[in-house]
């Protein structure tokens, strides 16, 4: 029983990390494409960019909804404390996502395509900004009392560290968005995205280095955890792997390979996520509340596991099928119909 009480929250920590990773990877490239569209003055290019997402953005965004629900059910205390503490960045994200979503529907029927193309780009940028601030402040730590209730102030989330995370996340989204567009476009348009991928790869890399160095310097708690065995070995391996992956990515971009940049970028996201997960674990509100303190009753975790856990492979299956159906290049501004 004791083992179960520990094991179930760990399982849910991993499942939530999986949902978050799927969201950041999949909606990450949607948002990245959106942010990239802001840099273009060419309406036709923007239309192609939006078309490349038409059939999938909604399913990608749904991973966020699933993650929200699963966090609510599995770690109610964390859901309540984190969301109420991050009131402002959460609503920044929500309004951004609202604009992004309606831009897809309204653009279709509007004569003023430029306006909705802009709403798509601006919405994506605002959503990514809100997410970056939220992520940054969660890693940084939220002020809570002994029972895990928020006691900080409403602007705690805003400082140079969360700003740094937000900017790096935006660069990361642009990177994965660019490499996705290398897959989906061809000709001149594809060439542009080789260029944007390279720039984004370098800026993301710089951001990641600064964050990696700053974390153990600024946070004493992280320092003591990271520099003691066994984490110190993992902490040593992850940056090395990261550098190798960035090198592989830049090489594939220089060779103008079509498929590999996207794959390397996904691996970079994955390794970052594993690193983050290891730093945060076993906390759900970093350095304050552990997953064991915040977890719902074991019966609730089992209940959720039977309903949601079983569905994960099925969800992955039909999502992959969706990508298979719509594989190939986007040329016009509609999906061939």
């Amino acid at each position: 029983m004791e083992a179960l009480v520990h094991f179930l929250p760990q399982v849910w920590f991993v499942i939530l990390a999986l949902f978050l990773f799927l969201y950041v990877m999949l909606d990450g490239f949607d948002l990245g494409v959106g942010i990239l569209s802001l840099t273009s003055s060419d309406e036709e290019r923007r239309s192609i960019l939006m078309t490349s997402l038409g059939n999938i953005w909604d399913a990608n965004e749904t991973w966020l909804v699933i993650m929200g629900g699963a966090l609510f059910g599995a770690f109610p205390l964390a859901y309540a404390t984190i969301l109420s503490a991050l009131y402002i960045p959460i609503f920044i994200m929500i309004f951004g996502l609202i604009f992004r979503a309606v831009a897809f529907e309204f653009r279709e029927h509007s004569n003023n395509k430029a306006f909705w193309n802009f709403a798509f780009g601006a919405g994506s940028f605002i959503a990514a900004l809100g997410q970056g601030f939220a992520l940054g402040s969660v890693i940084e730590g939220i002020k809570v009392d002994a029972s895990g209730h928020f006691i900080g102030s409403t602007w705690d989330w805003l400082d140079w560290r969360s700003m740094l995370v937000a900017l790096t996340l935006i660069q990361g989204y642009v990177l994965i968005g660019s490499t996705y567009l290398i897959l989906k476009t061809e000709g001149e348009l594809q060439k542009t995205h080789f260029k944007t991928s390279k720039i984004a790869a370098i800026t993301t890399f710089i951001g990641a280095i600064v964050i990696t160095i700053a974390t153990p310097i600024v946070y004493e708690a992280a320092r003591t955890r990271l520099f003691s065995a066994p984490l110190v070995y993992i902490f040593a391996v992850i940056p090395v792997l990261g550098v190798l992956l960035i090198w592989a990515l830049l090489r594939s971009l220089n060779r103008e390979e079509e498929n590999t940049p996207f794959i390397w970028t996904i691996l970079i996201f994955l390794i970052t996520f594993v690193g983050l997960g290891l730093i945060v674990f076993p906390y759900i509100i970093p350095n304050q509340i552990t997953i064991y303190q915040a977890a719902a009753a074991p019966s609730a975790l089992v209940f959720m596991l039977t309903f949601i856990g079983v569905l994960i492979p099925i969800m992955l299956f039909y999502n992959i099928y969706n990508y298979v159906v719509f594989r190939g290049k986007v040329v016009g501004s509609a999906y061939g119909d």
Partner: protein, 482 residues
């Protein structure tokens, strides 16, 4: 002003605004998804291209509503945490799990197959396309199920108890099958269907009245009419059952629905209030039209009450719902619309039996068609009114009898909530106007009668599995593409 610095009141207003706005879109898409399954099925069965054109035309309105529904659904998902943190912490074990199920079972199913349903024509085998349409409809209605499970559980908590401010669940299936669940899920299922049927019927009637594609839209009007024969009376019946369960489990809500201040004892008849001006200051109705001895008939189909009907005065002011007038009239508006729509169904069926809905004569039924157009928005009003009765009537509780709304709200600065509430009011107003504008544009444009009809393959030839997916760009100008 007091209100502007009251976090609880502002959070309630924000929840009400975002919920009322959000409700407008899924109510149509869940019902219409079933209609899309019907017309696509008819097309596959009869090979009549008109049914294919119907599927394509209505799915344009479908996806417009779907997009706004997705956008306005996000704040619903996160608001429990941002604005109702103590509540979320107390009920997360069950309530949060159910929201998780809705996401993983319902939303993902809808979203995962929507792309194929909208853009997959000609890319996948028609059978697979039909499967995608069915999955979208199944997902949408599954979402109704889980949301109503969650809300019913707040109305009639079951399957556990509150221990030190946290709801400890002992039996999850009992919590799912809480007393309100079956009837509330059914009531909402038929509500989405009925609203969508009258929207589709109203738009079809508009085309017929304006001499556009009369034969084409007579088809959809008749499909709708056949469905309403079953749906409208059933919904009235389930509505009655829902009121009965309110009488049994939530006497304070029933008293507010009937603006009943004084208790009527058992074994005697009581008057039923038809119209009134409830006055909370004097705890009475200022003015009233009643139907003598009517209450027994309304509740139990007989003259004398078997159980007493408690009046609002039975409870202290802090333990019963306020805004009695709103609850009282919302209930009357909802039921009135239910009966009106059933009446419209009867009138239309009568005309059909008399042969007046034949292609030659249907356009002459001007008043009937006008009434259908008038009825198009009524379903929405009924649904919103019903939710007002359900949730305002539940006050002062968020979880009936267990958690007070005042204790459920996050301790956050009122200025935060005021800012987000104001932004929602502005953004949602714009979205509402824009959606109505683009919706009427789609309707003004009408169905594309020249659209190419995909070939329905024989069952022995599953093209999707073998054909390489080479993308063929559409060379037509954007305006003509569907």
């Amino acid at each position: 002003m007091d209100l502007l610095s009251n976090t609880v009141a502002l959070s309630r207003m924000q929840f009400a605004l975002t919920a009322i706005f959000h409700m407008l879109w899924p109510v149509l898409t869940t019902g219409m998804s079933i209609y899309l399954v019907i017309v696509e099925g008819l097309w596959l069965k009869t090979r009549n291209p008109d049914y294919y054109r119907h599927a394509r035309f209505w799915s344009k309105l479908f996806v417009l509503n779907f997009g706004i529904g997705v956008a306005s659904g996000l704040p619903m998902e996160f608001q429990f945490g941002t604005n109702w943190a103590p509540f979320s912490e107390a009920v997360g074990d069950f309530f949060g799990s159910i929201l998780g199920f809705e996401g993983a079972m319902a939303f993902m199913l809808e979203a995962g197959f929507l792309g194929i349903m909208l853009f997959g024509w000609g890319r996948v085998h028609p059978a697979i396309h039909y499967l995608a349409t069915i999955m979208v409809a199944f997902g949408a209605n599954l979402s109704t199920f889980w949301i109503l499970v969650a809300n019913s559980w707040l109305q009639t908590p079951a399957g556990g108890e509150m221990v030190q401010g946290k709801f400890i669940v002992s039996d999850y299936f009992q919590a799912i099958a809480n007393p309100f669940m079956v009837k509330s899920v059914s009531h909402m299922f038929f509500a989405t269907l009925e609203t969508s049927l009258f929207v589709i019927g109203g738009i079809s009637a508009w085309y017929i009245l304006n001499n556009r594609h009369q034969e084409f839209f007579a088809k959809s009007l008749k499909i709708v009419l056949v469905a309403t024969i079953a749906v409208t009376p059933l919904q009235i019946y389930i509505g009655h059952l829902s009121a009965e369960q309110v009488a049994q489990y939530q006497p304070t809500k029933l008293a507010a629905m009937e603006a009943k201040w004084e208790t009527s004892p058992a074994g005697q008849p009581a008057d039923w209030s038809l119209l009134a001006i409830p006055d909370e200051a004097t705890q009475s109705n200022k003015w009233e039209i009643t139907i003598p001895n009517g209450l027994g008939y309304v509740l139990e189909f007989k003259k004398n009450l078997t159980t007493p009907v408690l009046g609002l005065k039975e409870w202290p002011y802090s333990d019963r719902p306020h805004m009695v007038g709103l609850i009282y009239y919302s209930f009357r508006v909802m039921s009135g619309i239910g009966f009106f729509l059933a009446g419209l169904m009867l009138w239309s069926v009568l005309q059909w039996l008399l042969g007046n809905l034949s292609n030659a004569k249907i356009a002459d039924q001007k008043w009937l068609l006008r009434t259908w157009i008038f009825a198009a928005p009524l379903g929405y009003i009924a649904v919103e009114s019903g939710w007002i009765v359900r949730c305002v009537g539940r006050q002062p509780w968020t979880m009936y009898g267990q958690i007070r709304t005042a204790d459920a709200a996050s301790h956050i600065p009122a200025s935060n909530v005021l800012t987000s509430l104001t932004l929602f009011a502005v953004v949602y107003s714009i979205l509402l106007v824009a959606t109505l504008y683009f919706g009427s544009k789609i309707i003004g444009h009408g169905p594309n009668m020249e659209i190419s009809i995909p070939e329905v393959y024989g069952t022995d030839k599953l093209a999707i599995a073998t054909e390489p997916a080479i993308f063929v760009p559409d060379q037509r100008p954007i305006e003509t593409q569907q």
